[in-house]
Symmetry: C2
Subunit: 133 residues, 2 copies
Amino acid sequence: MKNAKTLLEEKNIRPSFQRLKIYKLLSETKEHPSVETIYNELKEEIPSLSKMTIYNTLKLFVENDLARLITIEENEARFDADTSVHGHFKCNECGRVLDFPVSEAGLPVPGNGFKVENIDLFVRGICPGCRQQ
Amino acid sequence: MKNAKTLLEEKNIRPSFQRLKIYKLLSETKEHPSVETIYNELKEEIPSLSKMTIYNTLKLFVENDLARLITIEENEARFDADTSVHGHFKCNECGRVLDFPVSEAGLPVPGNGFKVENIDLFVRGICPGCRQQ
DNA sequence: TATTATAATTGGAATCTTTATAAAAATCAA
DNA sequence: TTGATTTTTATAAAGATTCCAATTATAATA
């Protein structure tokens, strides 16, 4: 498993302090955090941190395939450092977004003439934890 | 094919003038319009129309399964009166959102314990028209 | 038909997320 | 160290959505 610094350098992204912190946070969580969440979590450690840096950095990551933009929320963008193909489940009760396995082969895509650049499978419903209550 | 008035009444939604216009517009287009688009298209015919009415009405439709909320755009919500299972393709070039057929049976979903309420398959890329240029 | 209660619509302000811009700070190369 | 470039920061602005109170329309009742 490569470290954050190497991963960024391979994409010709200068591994600044802020960028490394953001990448590490994103790659070590399964919570699919929003800009707001990332900001709040890093604010303590980096008091000078600006939200603009997070927006810029995530955009850079998405462009370089270091992160995925998840639009499962109606209003707030969420992000995922796992860029492999997998599904996202959003619980309408607790609001959490969870991963589930998906084989890319089984996914239907548009027919001839379309160039596919990325695929998102979003499922919404109630997660097992919330169903029990 | 039932008319708009009947469809709304079956869901106990009072078929007001504005709601009928919004439903008809949505069910007769393939453009997956946004609130803004719907507003602009109906503004001429209903000069008093408020955007708030469109937000309220679409929310009501989505809750009653008369429309689907499509979050394929990062910032702007789009809507579709076709509530059957099908995929959405967004062209990163021209920005249009197109339908493509999907058999529900073939779609992977989360495993045991999850209650599935809706499924979205979003594919982004370049459409045939834009590829030719 | 008038009255009343209820529901829907409207307009404006407020909020929230994201983007734009310019100045300050950090980094890199010479 | 100096100068050029990149990154970060702070502030303002834009865009989408929601909140709220007032008005208007609708349905039921007398």
